[in-house]
Each structure stands twice: as C-alpha cells, then as structure tokens.
Amino acid sequence: HRSPLNDFQRLRATELLAVPTDPPAPAPEQGSAEQCAQRCAASMQCRAFHHDRQSQLCQLLPWTQHSPNVHVQKNIHYDLYQKKDYLRDCIVADGTSYRGTRATTEKGLRCQHWRATTPHDHSRFLPSLRNGLEENYCRNPDRDKRGPWCYTVDPNVRHQSCGIKKCEDAVCMSCNGEEYRGAVDHTESGTECQRWDLQHPHKHPYHPNKYPDKGLDDNYCRNPDSSERPWCYTTDPGREREYCRIRLCKKRPRPLNVTTGCFRGRGEGYRGRVNVTVSGIHCQRWDAQTPHQHHFLPEKYPCKDLQENYCRNPDGSEAPWCFTTRPSVRVAFCFHIRRCPDELGAEECYHGHGEHYRGHVSKTRKGITCQPWAAQAPHVPQISPVTHPEAHLEENYCRNPDNDSHGPWCYTMDPRTPFDYCAIKPCLGVGGCRGGASDVPQLTPALPADVVTFQQCGQRDERLQWKGR
C-alpha cells in the first residue's frame, strides 16, 4: 500500500531550470503525481519531475537541484518532486541508496573520481547508469556496514569511509519533537510512513494545507498533535499510526515567554499557579488519571512543566487549560488568567469591532490558516472582495467586513470550519481594564416586551405535562 511518491520529496510551486539542458528533458505527459512518480521510478535517467496540478501534466527530469548548472525558481503552476536519495544528506540503513553529493571522507580527504584509475587503480567499481557511481561522490556499492565510502586522492590512503550520519541520528528532537523537521520516514518498528498529503491507506485530518506550520512534508515523522513524540500514519493498512525513533537532543531548549502572573500568545510559557477554571471548578492533577484519563503525563512532557494541577498549555490550544475534577467536564480553559499588558499594547489588537483592522494576521485563534478572500475553496464565500470592495479584503488577512461584534474573522482552510475568529484581541478598553470591558458597549437597555416579536418558535403545548410511564 505504499505510494510511489514515498520515494520523492515535494517542493510546492517550484520548478528546476537547467542551462543548457543536456540531455534534453523529455516532453510532458498526462498523469497524476503518483503516475508520474511511477514512471520516474521506472526510468534510469529520471531523478525528479514537475507536476502541473491544474493540467495534470508531468515532465520527467534527469537532474535535481544539486546537479551542476541547475537552479530552483518559483513557479505556482508546478510542484517539484525529487528523489529523496539524491537530496538527503543522511543515509538510510547501510546507505546503499545514498545519491548525495558529499565527496570527502570522514577524515576530510578528497575523494577520487570513480572513473579515474589514479592514484588508486581499481577495476571493480566503474560508473554505470545503474550503480550511481558519479563524479567523486561517496557511495556504497559493496554494502559496506560502515556506509558510503570512496577511494581517496591521497596515495597513501586507498579508500576511507565518509562518515555520513544515519537519518535518525542526523537531526535530533527537543522536548516532544513538535518542531522536529528531520527526514526520518519509518516508524520504530521499521514500517514505512504514509505521506501526509495522501488519504490512503489511512484517512486522516492532518492536511498539510490546513496546518502549514506543522511541517507535514512528504512522509516524514512529525508531531502535529502534541503527542509525546513524532509519529506518522503507516503504509500498513492494519496499523494506522506509530511512533518513530528519533534521537533526543542533549540540551533542553530554554522555554520562551515564561510568565507567571499573566500569559502571552497562547500561554505555552505560562508557569503560574492558577489551578481553577473560569467557573471555579478545581483542576485535576496532571499526574492523576481520575476523574479524567489522559495522555499528558508530566514525565512524558518534561518541557511543559505539568506540575500539580496548574493551568498549562501543553498542546498549542488557544490558552492555558486543565482537566477538571468534575466528571462531566473533561477540560476547561483558564481564560481568567489575564493577558500580559505589554502584549495588549502590541500592534495586533483592534478597536471597536475591528471593522477597520488592516493588520496582517492570517490565522484563526486555533492556528488554522485563513482562506484567501478571493478563493472559492475549500469554502464558497458569501463575502468577498467583489461583494465588499471597501472592506480591504486582501490576501487571507483577518478582516471584519460584516461588522461582526466579536472581531476580525476569516474563512478557513479547514474544510470542516467555514469561518472562525482570529487570534487578535480587542485593544485595551475604556479605563484600561481587561475582562470584557471594550470600547464598544455590549448591552443595550431592556427593550419593552411589546417591541419584541418572534416567529415560529418558543411555543409549547402546556397541556403536555409529565405522565408517569
């Protein structure tokens, strides 16, 4: 159930330009990205391909961005797919498939060209279309356990290992690996990962478009949901997802934005001692599993400071939160922790209802990217630059074209969420206090009852009272 695209690394809106094109690139052919990948994998010359999503055309290429006289340029019509083996600077297993361009040994000696017979004459490993013995790049034609090697230009040293790291060691992860962007693409049991931009064999909600800042590239192990470490969906239909084995960095990063009396941003750095919810319900201890079972164990999340029952934000939610001691209320936000005043003064706040907001925030409060106002997908907008020309509906910036009393909003890139409010707060209100006071009066005096009318609602049959069973 693996996709042929698993062998490729995608670069969006990118094309390769080679000057001069020798050998010439073959003519484009019709096909999906997966069909292109199949064709490229089957061809000895092919190392990459352009895929035009609109016209479903693909063009196989005999070079990658590492090839001489080739450069990368932006082109919104193409996605560029390149064979991972030619791009990676680390090795998988014994490195037999390594096709990178390293050409020095672990001791720093320059490698001898494979075609050359001096200073070291060898007749065993001569370049061919199949064996990848190019130039003087490190390679592993004889499956040496120590990985890729080469003959050296030092007459006294015939050959030497190149010391290229294994991918699972090349990039370490800190904390729970939410920021890990390495190239491990197999799980700890060795199963290959499924690509994030495919829905087979496993359907899943983590679309790369929806979470552009989670690094959901290709089929690399990632941690988009604050699990305890990076994982991936697998190509095994019988196993939906599995953790990956990734080296933990020795040094733990210093937490950012540590605050105790207030919180900044989403409050991930909050280390205060508030331990009740907005409604006054006590929080459950993080190291307890009753009344609510959960996976946020303090020892599994050492960087999140899950002490006692203090409000914390270990998963990138919109504010600090906790599990509650009330069985029927699993979690609750701790919105009553005030936002740090210096942040309130930040340029990203809005006055009134935010109808004049002209900033560049383009994310919802849940961190989902906004849909461009002019786009028709994933949501067909009822409000657009055409319908509201005066509302400055630029790009996908948060705006308030309909004077929504709850502030700037946007359509979202999440197919399931047509619109949502943005992570922008009202500016300091009248009298400089926080807690709901804004510079727009919220309530209007009570209307006389006879002014209010209702349609087809609020009627019940008073006779239908309780009858015993």
Binding site: Q382, L443, L447, V452, G458, R460, W466, R469
Partner: protein, 227 residues
C-alpha cells in the same frame, strides 16, 4: 436539576456520547442546530463521530417503543467567540418538529431580559434526591438585575453573563445539565436567554447562579447557521 419538577421543555435536548450516555444538555434553535456549552466537549476539533442528540421524549433513557423519540447524530461542532464558552452543533439531519419537539426563540441582539422575569431551566442532570432523575426536570428561577448580581459577586460578573437570584429552597442546575437552556417568557414566547454553565456547587442558596448571556452572541449564531 435540583429542586425542580418533571416537566415539558420541547427544545431541550440530551447530548449523548458514543456509549449512548447522556452527559450534557442543549437547546434546539433551528431544525438542524443545537446550542450547548464548550466545556462539554474536549475541543473545537473534537471528533464527534458516534455522538448524538436525543429529542422528543421526557425520559432520560426511553424504551425502544417510545413513539416520539428522535435520535440524531451530530455532524460537526462550531465554537463561539472565546469568552462565550458556547458551541453550536450541526445535526446530520433536521429534527422533525411536533408536539414534543419545538424550536426555542433567540433573543434580539444584546437584549437584556428584565430583572424579575421568571425563567426556567431544564435538564436530565443530577437531582440529588430532590426529584425523579429518570425524566426531564424543570425549575423556575427569577432573573437578577445585572448591577445587583455584580455587587453580589463582588465585581466578578462579566457582561457576557446573566444571573438568576438564589432561592432559599436551593433550586438550580447541576452536573449533567450544563449546556441546557435558561428559557424566559417574552411576548408569549419562550426565549433562550441563557445557557447553563458548570459551577463548583449545585443550586447555591447564598449566591446567584450564572448563565452565558445568549443575546450577546445572536449575531454569531445566525452567522454560523448562514455560513
């Protein structure tokens, strides 16, 4: 509901999890839309496959033969503005309106229900021995003036909240009622003025009860249903 009576509230729905267990209340404001409380759900991205609402019956766990019962799966959840603590649940299909299932009205935007208006809360939550916990219970509470409540809560009342006066007899919502309605009679119609929020103590006799003031979020509610 503590201190209530079995009663009829055709817009009050029971929200059930995958195991079919009731865990929160809600109010039917459109054939395919229910309003409830954010804290009833683990997140705004919650996977609600298997979650349902139950309408049309007074029984918490009706028998299979109950002719009026409607059980409708929940399609998706939309979270309200941050301070609102409200959510809107879209049902997979519209509820059939009949004598047992009716819509509750939404108040005008930013409408303040007059102090003293007699309203009622309804739910299948805990009764703590004060009622029949196998059926829907309803209790009446009078609205408390905003200023008075603000003083009683020593300045901790937000504009997004409204209060009812505490009753010496101990009447109020409890676990399992959260998300349910505070309905008030206005112009001969029942209007959803508040949503029951979780509180530390049930049916307090010494402090007003707090509800989320729905009239502040009517524009959001209409927008969600329209979009």
């Amino acid at each position: 509901i503590i201190g209530g009576q079995p009663g009829n509230s055709p817009w009050t729905v029971s929200i059930r999890n995958r195991a079919g267990v009731h865990f929160c209340g809600g109010s039917l404001v459109k054939e395919q839309w229910v309003i409830s409380m954010r804290q009833c759900f683990s997140s705004c991205d919650a996977d609600l496959v298997g979650y349902k609402v139950q309408l049309g019956t007074l029984f918490k766990d009706p028998g299979p033969g109950d002719p009026d019962q409607q059980t409708i799966p929940i399609e998706r959840i939309a979270c309200g503005p941050a301070e609102s603590q409200l959510v809107m649940l879209k049902l997979v299909r519209p509820a059939a309106l009949n004598r047992r299932v009716a819509l509750i009205c939404l108040p005008p935007e930013r409408y303040v229900v007059p102090a003293g208006t007699v309203c009622e809360i309804a739910g299948w939550g805990e009764t703590r021995g004060t009622g029949d916990s196998t059926v829907l219970n309803v209790a009446r509470l009078p609205v408390l003036a905003h200023g008075e409540c603000h003083a009683a809560l020593r300045g901790r009342l937000k504009e997004s909240e409204l209060c009812t006066a505490p009753l010496r007899a101990g009447v109020g919502a409890c676990e399992g009622d959260y998300g349910g309605p505070l309905a008030c009679l206005t112009a001969d119609c029942w209007v959803l003025e508040g949503v029951i929020t979780p509180s530390r103590v049930c049916a307090r006799t010494d402090q007003p009860a707090l509800f989320i003031r729905v009239s502040l979020y009517v524009d959001w509610i209409h927008k969600v249903m329209k979009m």
